[in-house]
Amino acid sequence: MSEKEMPLWEVFIRPRNGLAHKHAGSVHAWDAEMALQAARDVYTRRGEGTSIWVVQSAQIVASDPNAAEELFDPTADKIYRHPTFYKIPEEVGHM
């Protein structure tokens, strides 16, 4: 049994209720249940979590790094998409 033959799983941890699960790292495991256990043992040793998600790394569809320019650069000049772009009249008060 070597780690190289075992499927890789991505681990997501939610630190507290109300917060989103965040990517924490990855573990090797043969199946989902063992991946959950491994994630618990590797990534929640210091009280980091209240919930764990694991998903097989192979199941994640990722964007192509070579397509980064066409995907992400066009947003650079659209500053009006940020709320701070707009001035709020005094009369409106606190929003």
């Binding site: 049994m1 780690e3 075992m6 573990v27 090797h28 495991a29 043969w30 199946d31 249940e33 063992m34 256990q37 491994a38 043992d41 590797v42 040793r45």
Partner: protein
């Protein structure tokens, strides 16, 4: 020769009963710690040492309690590190060598499947410290049963080789299982006083837990008519001496060292 003496009175018996439990947890913790840097995968390396630290935490509280109650100026470290082999009262099961991964997992399942219902019952103990330990240890033992149980199923129901090794581990440990359900003279006093649960009464639940795992894993529990006993009287296998030599080395070489 120094050896594990029977209790002189009921007070001492109750302390010794806690000491037995502390020794079980310390010795098994040390065994699991031996996997550090050697487990089959990095994930399991961390998992086994996590389990070890759970057990060590329980041992520490119990040693500190015994040390305080006996009032002889000994500390938890003195009890853990400075006794000789024959003074340790742990079960023979927990001192069994790690063997292969299957041996370690089987030993863990057998121990945790006992301690889970033990601590569950101990939540109603007449001793405040025992109740406190039980609350924490019960959660830990639930996870130990789950961890070892899931592995047992995967090894038992895995490849031909993993099945063979898992079954071999069960057979190798089988002689040491009956001792789990035997109460020493000291433990009997603690049980009469309502401090600790009656060990023999835990057997049906233990058997149910183990049988459930074995069913899924396709493993069988052999009959064994000749139980190995003696751990509670300090009669240990040779292996405990080697374990203690490593455990105690630092305190023996540098007495009183702290970190």
């Amino acid at each position: 020769m120094v050896f594990a003496k029977p209790p002189a009175d009921r007070e001492e018996a109750q302390r010794l009963a806690l000491l037995e439990l502390a020794d079980d947890h310390l010795v098994l913790s040390q065994r699991l710690g031996e996997w550090c840097g050697h487990a089959p995968t990095l994930e399991e390396d961390l998992a086994l040492t996590n389990l070890a630290l759970d057990l060590l935490g329980t041992a520490r509280t119990l040693y500190a309690t015994v040390a305080e109650r006996e009032g002889r100026g000994r500390s938890e470290d003195d009890l853990a590190m400075l006794r000789v082999e024959r003074e340790y009262r742990n079960l023979l099961l927990v001192e069994r060598p790690n063997g292969d991964f299957a041996h370690t997992i089987a030993r863990q399942l057998f121990f945790a499947a006992f301690m889970r219902p033990f601590w569950e019952r101990a939540l109603g103990s007449g001793d405040e410290v025992v109740r406190g330990v039980a609350g924490k240890a019960l959660k830990e033992m639930r996870y130990h049963v789950r961890h070892a149980g899931e592995w047992t199923v995967r090894l038992g129901d895995g490849t031909e080789e993993s099945h063979r090794r898992m079954q071999a581990a069960i057979e190798a440990l089988r002689p040491y299982l009956d001792e789990l359900f035997v109460s020493s003279e000291a433990a009997k006093v603690a049980e009469e006083e309502g401090i600790l649960p009656v060990r023999a009464e835990i057997r049906p639940e233990w058997e149910e837990t183990v049988a459930e795992v074995f069913d899924k894993a396709g493993l069988t529990m052999p009959e064994w008519p000749h139980p190995r006993l003696g751990g509670r009287e300090g009669l240990h296998g040779e292996e405990l001496g080697h374990l203690l030599a490593e455990l105690q080395y630092l305190q023996r070489a540098y007495p009183g060292a702290q970190w």
